[in-house]
Symmetry: C2
């Protein structure tokens, strides 16, 4: 099943996508919901960020080549994380498919994409085993963990480097019936393929992250967990379009503009 | 004005506290709201966390003695932050006044309180000057940034050390008409005063944090910013009660239990 969140007049509403049509629902995908009579053509519907998470989790460093490449840009030795320790991003930075990534005036050239698989939680859970972990996942969407590498080196908290407004494109929708380990991620910058990796090559699996974190924290419906990216990443420039494609989900496409 | 969030039958509702009475409202304190006819005795009302923030900001290291003392517990040199760089905490960890702080079974002895002033945002704002910063603050409440110091040293992301479930007591309510720089914070552990400091002694003021962060991030109504703590902190044990008092706001009181 394919779920979206869309602008329905004055309000945001969840919807089911069937073919080229969005069918509005009352309620939430992971709760009690009812289909309304309203149907909208997908092509002319304004899609929103598919969920505003209560808590926005991110795996951070989770692929070997990426850890090595980022360390290079920062002039430090690569350090692989010893545990599946979940980190955080911030809701202010979220934008939807199609919306502009705005590079701040004072950013350096090193503003880069990171294409990622995103898991969306279905129900409240705590102390989950690895075997049961995926039972608590509602579905999957796509994220672009935009990062300013110069700030990333110096910011103690990543507030600018990772959480500047517009630095967290997420969407276009949530797909429910997928095996995450079978997925691949392709990244294109203005039409040119600049990265491809297999989700299964992660240092820690989604199951390992969920199980370890849930020994200490409760996950809630609508929480998201971004799974990290692999490979070297390139700078994005004013006028670029960045696309993250995960076959089985779709394409997250965002234009890039430099703030004047 | 004193605002709370409380359990009203099956639902959470905002309310105004007048003397010993809670008057329920429809809507949100920072939006359009209307007073309902319902009045509840404060003493028998179950207060909830006064707001679930869209984004949960925290100043982190913001008082000189605290920075020095925490560095001591971690065997490192104290490093004072060069900028008012805002950090993050996570909503899963929030508990209300009166609820139990649960020390995990596998935590070390070094589980400590941090009594803090908390600012709650009133309206959406970006690129705010220091002079205008407080115009965007709705009011103030109290936070206890409970921290497991052994994990704090080793966790790359603070997910366990700072964001374990129940590690973020916040409340009991929000007070709107205060000058933050005039406030003092007193911390008591099972009745014994273990800390006292003046908010004005912070390395960076609330105005500096809001202004700097807002050059990059948009704040939204209901976002919270925890301002950090001063002084050495002590371990909390099973059976303790920790109280954070800020005259003008009130007392945030939470019992401590060790998980069996």
């Amino acid at each position: 099943m394919r779920w979206c969140r869309f602008q329905d007049g004055e309000r945001a509403r969840y919807g089911v996508i069937e073919g080229d049509t969005v069918i509005g629902v009352d309620g939430e995908p992971w709760g009690a919901y009812t289909r309304t009579g309203s149907a909208h053509p997908l092509a002319s519907t304004k899609l929103l960020v598919p969920v505003i998470p209560p808590t926005f989790y991110a795996a951070g460093l989770n692929y070997r080549e990426h850890v090595t490449e980022v360390a290079k840009t920062q002039g430090i030795e690569p350090a692989f994380p010893p545990h599946a320790d979940v980190g955080y991003r911030a809701n202010n930075a979220l934008i939807a498919d199609g919306e502009e990534i705005v590079i701040p005036r004072d950013a350096t050239e090193l503003v880069q994409y990171e294409g990622e698989l995103v898991a969306v939680f279905e129900r409240q859970c705590r102390r989950v085993s690895e075997a049961e972990a995926l039972d608590h996942v509602f579905g999957y969407t796509i994220g672009n963990d935009v990062s300013e590498r110069t700030w990333q080196r110096d910011d103690r908290t990543f507030f600018r480097s990772k959480n500047t407004d517009t630095f967290k494109p997420m969407g276009p929708w949530i797909e429910t019936d997928l095996d995450p380990a079978a997925l691949g991620v392709t990244i294109r910058l203005s039409g040119r393929e600049v990265g491809h990796y297999r989700v299964a090559d992660a240092i820690f699996s989604l199951q390992q992250f969920i199980s370890r974190a849930s020994q200490y924290v409760t996950f809630y419906p609508g929480d998201v967990l971004w799974m990290g990216t692999d490979g070297a990443t390139e700078n994005m420039h004013d006028g670029d379009v960045v696309e993250i494609e995960i076959p089985g989900i779709g394409v997250l496409r965002n234009p890039v503009v430099k703030e004047r």
